[in-house]
Subunit: 416 residues, 2 copies
């Protein structure tokens, strides 16, 4: 691939203008948008505004004046558009873990007599931990976790004990994309409610929650949605369930009239009943502003580019493996079939940790997942084709010259 | 009270220098620090840093580089100093509501055979709602809320069914301060665990959690701690309980090795087991910076000044009532006895809402609590004695000239 060819690809990229919407560090290729998205200019501006003007000057009046009170629903509706949800079913609040607890409890309360939450070995651990925590609280006769192997046919695990199917739309390690429509229908046919975790798909893979008749979903604000570190998460409750379902984290923000200060909890109408405490206004405002980057974006174009970036990465790695034997030690564990893959690629290598550290030291930010996975995320709003070529070039040098052998790259950190 | 006298009081105020640590709107007296504290300069600076440098430039590396991963414990330990807690027992995370759910569940799991959570009618509603939510989930045989009248002798309600006593240290409406040491001891004598809600005392009333042998506590980051709108809350778990107690919101941040991505939850040692999801780093960093304002502060000096500010307010209101009969319609419902009062004063008036709106329009920010309470908070780090005199002057004009009758002041807002 020549530089001219890369320039041509970037010149013809319909999402190229989005690059300017981000504050990016110079001289870095950032392949970690699947872990923490980059800073949108709108978010930077809004952070100053909410801290310095709204909090600093307008103080308590801002709850009404600047619509702080509506932010969870307002930001939720911006996400709704990206995940195929009609308005009024999505909220921004709390963390994925806390939101999962609400939805798991709500779903189990709807499923009298069934106690199994079915998930996969490879699901993101916090999802599994929340089921375990709820099971400890309720007892295993009310809630117990069953884990299928990732390669198992899920359908064969869907028996009459299964109350809830809890799945990640995209596997966080290898990037496998699951067929939401098919699996949801299989579960429903057996009376099972479905919770999808969209952490690795929202904002990068087109999602059709309403069309797939999904019951519940959660997702992450700080990955492909670029909402900032620890941005509030989101949750989705299908409109058809909102009238009947209850959730146990019934804090004052989910009350129908929080400022009446009644002693008895009366849940709000609609999705707001899934709110709990006072929202983290600063973090939530930043996410709300970050979502404006998506306002004029077609998710199909996003998908197309993320697949093209990944395809280019794969192609160049394979090309280099022909010339640089050390490169062939990187074993792709993501599906080659695009229709079965999210927006990331994962390679296995015994020294994945050290290779990742070497990449970072050379300006290519990827990430490592224990025990031996090197993970690259292709966030198409701030990545250019030329960046991909550069990252493979750097990777090749590191592998060829065994730069990862530098003992500095073996130092383990708190967060890996 | 002459202007000279007020100037003298401000000149002799040992906390006067703290005024310059805040970014305050000009021409406003802010008596609502009990609802949302003002913006410390340290917090303003840190907000820019965490968004623009740490997120924008250092991106994912910041988890290690800027200690994001340690923030919940780090900020928790800054609060610990203010609430009489030895290090390692306090965490900043989630909301008060969510944290209460963790602690209520944990406490009930310790109290086999007892199912009652005892609280007061006048406790802050979200505290009561969380008990109701947990009761719905577990069934009333496992968790049921019993409410004593605020004037009731709590001890007479402490029977063998009571598992947990859940109380606010300072009542959010009238400012009554409860005797933590005495009540905790009474509860313990009957085998009852105690959860204190410090929302209206942390940062303004000296608290001695360890000395009072308190079991659990929660508190608010955005009131007297000035952590910003919707700042993360905090929770306290006495060291003696940490080895045995479990909590159901067992997310990955509470795992002993979150980045091993094991499927089985193994709780972290110590207080970290009470963490759940990814923390809202921006909001949490701002709170962490805001807490530095307290680094060199003696809580006894804070208490002394907040009482002196309130005493001045009361005294001036009573003085004005002698000259302006309309002022006597404001009926103080806070305890006159300082030892029984937090850092606020509450007055009852049938037109409290309109009076509050008129005050705000005239530059004195107080707040209203349904149905008829006008509430003033005396946050001593950014209030001067001269401000108090000015606020009473404005209030007197509003009452004397019935300025609150302006129909504009009757318009109800979403947040009151």
């Amino acid at each position: 691939m020549t530089n001219d060819q890369l320039t041509l690809m970037d010149d013809h990229d319909p999402l190229a203008t989005k690059y300017a919407d981000f504050e990016l560090p110079t001289d870095i290729v950032y392949l970690d948008g699947n872990s923490l998205g980059c800073l949108p200019r709108t978010a930077r501006q809004r952070a100053r505004e909410v801290v310095e003007q709204q909090w600093g000057q307008d103080l308590i009046k801002s709850w009404n004046l600047h619509g702080w009170i509506d932010l969870p629903v307002h930001a939720g509706d911006k996400i709704a558009r990206l995940i195929g949800a009609a308005s009024g079913q999505t909220l921004c609040c709390d963390s994925v873990s806390v939101n999962l607890f609400k939805l798991l409890s709500a779903a189990l309360m709807m499923q009298n007599g069934r106690n199994v939450v079915l998930s996969q070995q490879g699901n993101f651990p916090t999802d599994l931990y929340m089921v375990q925590g709820l099971g400890n609280l309720l007892g295993s006769d009310k809630c117990t976790l069953r884990l299928a192997d990732d390669d198992d046919d899920l359908e064969s695990n869907m028996d009459d004990d299964v109350a809830v199917l809890l799945l990640s739309h995209v596997n966080f390690r290898n990037g496998t994309l699951y067929d939401m429509k098919k699996i949801t229908a299989q579960a429903h046919a057996r009376g099972i409610l479905v919770i999808w975790d969209l952490a690795h798909s929202a904002g990068v893979v087109p999602v059709q929650l309403d069309e797939c008749h999904v019951d519940f979903a959660v997702g992450c604000g700080y990955k492909y949605l670029n909402g900032g570190p620890g941005a509030p998460a989101f949750l989705y409750v299908a409109a058809r369930h909102q009238g009947t379902v209850t959730q146990p984290l019934s804090g004052w923000m989910g009350h129908q009239a929080p400022f009446d200060f009644d002693n008895k909890y009366e849940r709000a109408a609609g999705i707001s009943a899934f709110l709990t405490g006072t929202p983290p206004v600063v973090s939530l405002s930043i996410l709300d502003a970050a979502l404006d980057v998506f306002a004029d974006i077609d998710m199909l174009a996003v998908r197309k580019k993320s697949l093209a970036l990944a395809a280019l990465f794969m192609q160049l790695v394979e090309q280099m493996a022909g010339q640089t034997p050390a490169m062939s030690a990187l074993v792709l564990i993501s599906p080659r079939d695009e229709s079965m893959r999210g927006a990331q690629l994962a390679y296995r290598h015994p020294q994945a940790f050290e290779i990742c550290q070497a990449l970072i030291a050379h300006g290519v930010i990827a990430d490592f997942r224990a025990p031996d996975i090197l993970r690259m995320g292709f966030s198409p709003l701030f990545l250019r084709y030329a960046d991909i070529a550069r990252s493979v070039q750097v990777l090749t040098t590191i592998m060829r010259d065994e730069l990862w052998r530098d003992p500095a790259f073996a130092v383990r950190h708190k967060v890996t």
